[in-house]
Amino acid sequence: MTKLKSLDDLRRLREELQKEVEARQGGETQIIVGMGTCGIAAGAREVMTAILEELARRNIKATVLQTGCIGMCEKEPLVDVVRPGEKRITYGHVTPRDVPRIIGEHVVNGRIVEDLVVGRAN
């Protein structure tokens, strides 16, 4: 019988992550994914899971959030990146393939991925 991954394995992960929780200061970059009906139909869930995998893999601390419909159907999937103290940048037509660039360049290095930008706000 193969041993399935069990929730007990979470305890090990908990010990690993506990230290990081204590070290965390807040003021993290926020990544916001549009999860309205058209966003979901256009692939927002796959973008969300790609973001989670990339953050976990590269051990990057950022806060991932969701928003409902903001009335920009035709540009879904939408991903906003807000670095502390900087403008809110909205990326449109995002695919899982774009995620490593958005995270690697913008979230980590503060360089906006210009060719994907569809909006900016303060």
Partner: protein
């Protein structure tokens, strides 16, 4: 929507928009009865009876960003095309239960799709939600409950990307095993 799991994600967004703090997702695959049943039950703000009667109509919505609400009408269309239907029961102030049925082996039934991806996406957006997921295939049932997960996690937030990617893999394995693949080792 190409997957039933995407409809589920969309329905849970309705529940969250209605202020739900607990959502129960139940999937039943019944080969003998040729039936697939999806039930989403929430404790959100609910709808009054008059509204429930109209809610499958795409022009019924309380959203302000556009005049059509697509979620429930898309689900109803998918269910009816696959020999099933959608039923909604709701009580103002108490909550809502949406039940969708499909012919399990119906040609036009969309695949169940990636349920683990849907569940972790819900949790990424709603880390405080009490989410209970129960999936039955014939006579076997798998249950997942975020209260139990949070107990294991202590202060570590459930929406930490590492926790969510762990949970996605955990759920994938559990569902593969539920569908008869791999070894089974359940308590």
């Amino acid at each position: 929507m190409e997957e039933l799991a995407l409809h589920i994600l969309d329905l849970v967004q309705n529940s969250l928009a209605a202020g739900a703090t607990e959502v129960v997702i139940e999937i039943k695959e019944d080969a003998a009865g040729d039936l697939l049943i999806i039930t989403i039950k929430d404790n959100g703000s609910g709808m009054d009876q008059e509204f429930v009667r109209r809610v499958l109509d795409p022009f019924t919505t309380t959203r302000t960003t556009r005049r059509v609400g697509l979620g429930l009408s898309l689900l109803a269309m998918a269910a009816r095309q696959a020999g099933g239907d959608v039923q909604i029961s709701s009580e103002k102030g108490k909550g809502t239960t949406v039940t969708a049925t499909f012919g399990l082996r119906h040609w036009d039934r969309p695949p169940l799709g990636d349920v683990p991806a849907t569940l972790v996406t819900v949790l990424a957006g709603a880390p405080k939600l009490d989410l209970i997921y129960r999936h039955t295939v014939d006579d076997r049932t798998f249950t997942f409950c975020t209260r139990e997960v949070r107990r294991e996690l202590g202060e570590v937030p459930i929406n930490d990307p590492k926790v969510l990617t762990f949970l996605k893999r955990y759920l994938q394995e559990a569902l593969t095993s539920l569908h008869g693949g791999g070894g089974v080792d359940e308590a």
